[in-house]
């Protein structure tokens, strides 16, 4: 395993700047999650690290070695693609053996058998080893795909939304499994997702990408509790952060355009009046949709709340975020 450093990477496709001067350090043994919507440059970042894309500017180094011009094989990285991309003409076993048999690794037979067996058991596909890759369910295919990365011992694992095609139960299982594997083996992972739960639960570091730029990099807690911008703030949090005009509540700091209120920033019971529009009971929590002046906002309340639509709730902000006209955070805006 090794540290991966991207410096000032720019990648341009035809007329779009997929990556714009991206610098990123993936520390050895860390689990870095790149978070952002489709088109933010997450996958391109992975492909640049893998060597599938050559950056137009900037450098990539893995384990202190400059690898910018290297082929993917020379970089010794393993990648799980978003699509299963199992070799359809091979069996599950042959798929798992494929990287070990490469001319670079040339693993001896007993070692291949040992590793394939270990990975197959870990991912619960041991009974499917002699099936054709095409005769698997979607979840099994994706596990084999992850397994094909795990049989190796690369400098870094690159994963491109590996869980997005799985059902909720399997996704939850594999999330825990991946985190366990990473914590256990000390592997370095660069993981792309747009699922904030994956980011929050697995990451040691989160990189928030917006239109080819890294807008914030830090631990999941940091990004959640101390977002650098409106964009970063709205990446994490369920329900999403409420973004309202700053003037809605008294005493906004100078230059504030937007106030950002997570549910925990909304104190219920005193302050100004708002009316309940909708009560969503999710079991463990209940979400309140409120109308405040001309705006709507969503917050969380007691699971057994007696509130009903039309009721009046008094609310006031507690340590909210303030953002300026460009959407950037105003340094720790303190109010009331």
């Amino acid at each position: 395993m090794a540290e991966v450093i991207l410096e000032n990477i720019t990648k341009i496709f035809a007329d779009t700047r997929a990556l714009d001067n991206v610098s990123l350090a993936v520390p050895d043994g860390s689990f870095v999650v790149l978070l952002g919507p489709t088109g933010a440059g997450k996958t391109t970042t992975l492909r640049v690290v893998a060597g599938l894309e050559r950056p137009d500017a900037g450098t990539v180094s893995i384990g202190g070695r400059l690898v910018t011009g290297f082929t993917p094989a020379q970089r010794n990285v393993a990648m799980v693609f978003q699509q299963y991309s199992l070799y359809p003409h091979l069996t599950v076993r042959q798929n798992l053996e494929f990287p070990l048999k490469s001319p670079i690794l040339k693993t001896p037979r007993p070692e291949i058998d040992r590793r394939v067996k270990a990975v197959a058991e870990m991912l619960r596909i041991a009974h499917k080893l002699d099936n054709r890759a095409t005769a698997l369910s979607g979840g099994e295919m994706q596990r084999v795909s992850i397994g094909r990365a795990l049989v190796r011992n690369p400098s870094i694992y690159l994963m491109d939304e590996p869980l997005s095609s799985l059902d909720a139960k399997l996704r939850a299982d594999l999330r825990i499994e991946l985190k366990r594997i990473q914590a256990h083996s000390g592997a370095t992972l660069l993981y792309v997702t747009h699922d904030q739960v994956e980011a929050m639960t697995m990451a040691t570091h989160v990189g928030v990408l917006d239109r080819g730029r890294i807008v914030q990099f830090g631990s999941p807690r940091e990004v959640y509790e101390n977002p650098a911008s409106v964009y970063a703030a709205s990446r994490l949090g369920q329900p999403r952060i409420n973004l309202l005009p700053a003037g809605l509540f008294p005493h906004p700091p100078a230059g504030a355009r937007t106030i950002g209120l997570r549910p925990e920033h909304i104190r219920q019971g005193d302050g100004q009046e708002s009316s309940v529009i909708r009560v969503e009971r999710l079991g463990d929590q209940t979400r309140l949709h409120l109308r405040f002046k001309d705006c709507e906002l969503v917050t969380v309340t007691d699971a057994h709340t007696p509130l009903r639509p039309g009721d009046i709730v008094k609310i006031s902000p507690a340590n909210p975020y303030y953002f300026d006209a460009d959407g950037m955070r105003i340094a720790h805006g303190e109010t009331t």
Binding site: A73, S85, A133, T134
Partner: protein, 312 residues
């Protein structure tokens, strides 16, 4: 009876079956005619109205493989009793065998030139199609159009220039010349067909192989080729059928050593005119290699090997 939207009804199936059977009958008719004629006597072959029931004879096949001469009764007596069944057939017609015909040679020429050019066409076509499919080739669309343009004129239109070029190069009436010519003509078909097949193989497989530690060439061999097998097999069948049946170039550019079977078969002359049973026998045997080749590769023609492995 249950109703289903996707499953055709019994009546629809019956109609479809009838249609297929009718079409099969229409296509098989000439083939059946040729095969039957091969077993007819020369008189039966040209009988009118045509004979559907006839006494089969191997005379046509014997005539196909031998050259014969009419001999006087004394000459035949001198030779003694015929030793083999085919000598007897010839003897019954008052003739004797003086040697083998050229059919065997011509047939072998067809095999060498047909399979040789097919191999070359598919080999070159696969690597060219891969390049067109995966790499940024300057003027790609124009090049693909130029390649196709070689098929836009009839062979007869280019036969004279090719004949003159071949005479200069010493390729006239040679196996190599014919292999190169059929390769040149078929390559456009091969590149276009194979490009279509390779385009359908998701590039992710090669990327995965590159990351798994293989070079691009190794990825091509281990990942692309097995998945393109279907396309390669069907392209090979098309190319072989064309090269095998090609007549115009063969008749113009070959006469002796490298003459293929198609220009040779119609020239089989018997005593007293065209020997139709021998011609039909030659045509029947000529069908066999292509049929065997097609049947051997048939399982590759069934698509679906890659189905479902990549989520679209």
């Amino acid at each position: 009876m249950s109703f289903s939207v996707t499953e055709p009804s019994g009546r629809q199936k019956l109609f479809a079956g009838f249609l297929v059977a009718f079409y099969a009958l229409v296509t098989i008719m000439p083939l059946a005619w040729i095969i039957a004629t091969g077993f007819k006597s020369p008189a039966d072959a040209i009988a009118y109205p045509p004979k559907v029931v006839f006494e089969p004879t191997l005379e046509g096949y014997v005539n196909l493989f031998t050259t014969r001469t009419r001999a006087s009764d004394e000459a035949l007596q001198e030779r003694g009793a015929p030793e083999t069944w085919y000598q007897r057939i010839v003897r019954d017609k008052g003739m004797m065998i003086v040697g083998p015909s050229r059919y065997g040679e011509r047939f072998m020429n067809s095999v060498i030139i047909g399979f040789g050019s097919t191999f070359l066409t598919v080999f070159l076509g696969t690597i060219a199609a891969y390049a067109f499919s995966r790499f940024k080739v300057p003027l790609k669309d124009d090049l693909l159009f130029f390649i196709l343009s070689t098929r836009m004129m009839p062979p007869i239109a280019v036969a004279i220039p090719i004949f003159l070029m071949y005479r200069q190069l010493g390729l006239n009436d040679t196996h190599l010349g014919m292999i190169l010519l059929y390769t040149a003509v078929n390559l456009s078909l091969s590149v276009w067909l194979l490009k279509g097949f390779i385009d359908e193989i998701p590039v992710e497989y090669e990327e995965a192989a590159l990351i798994d530690g293989y070079t691009r060439f190794q990825a091509f061999c281990k990942v692309v080729l097995p998945q393109a097998a279907t396309g390669i097999a069907s392209t090979a069948i098309f190319c072989l059928i064309f090269a095998w049946n090609e007549y115009a170039f063969a008749v113009l550019l070959t006469s002796g050593t490298a003459q293929t079977a198609p220009p040779f078969i119609p020239t089989i002359i018997g005593v007293g005119g065209q020997d139709w049973p021998a011609v039909a026998a030659g045509a029947t045997l000529f069908l066999v290699p292509v049929m065997v080749f097609t049947i051997l590769l048939r399982k590759h023609l069934l698509r679906g090997i890659t189905f479902g492995a990549v989520r679209k």
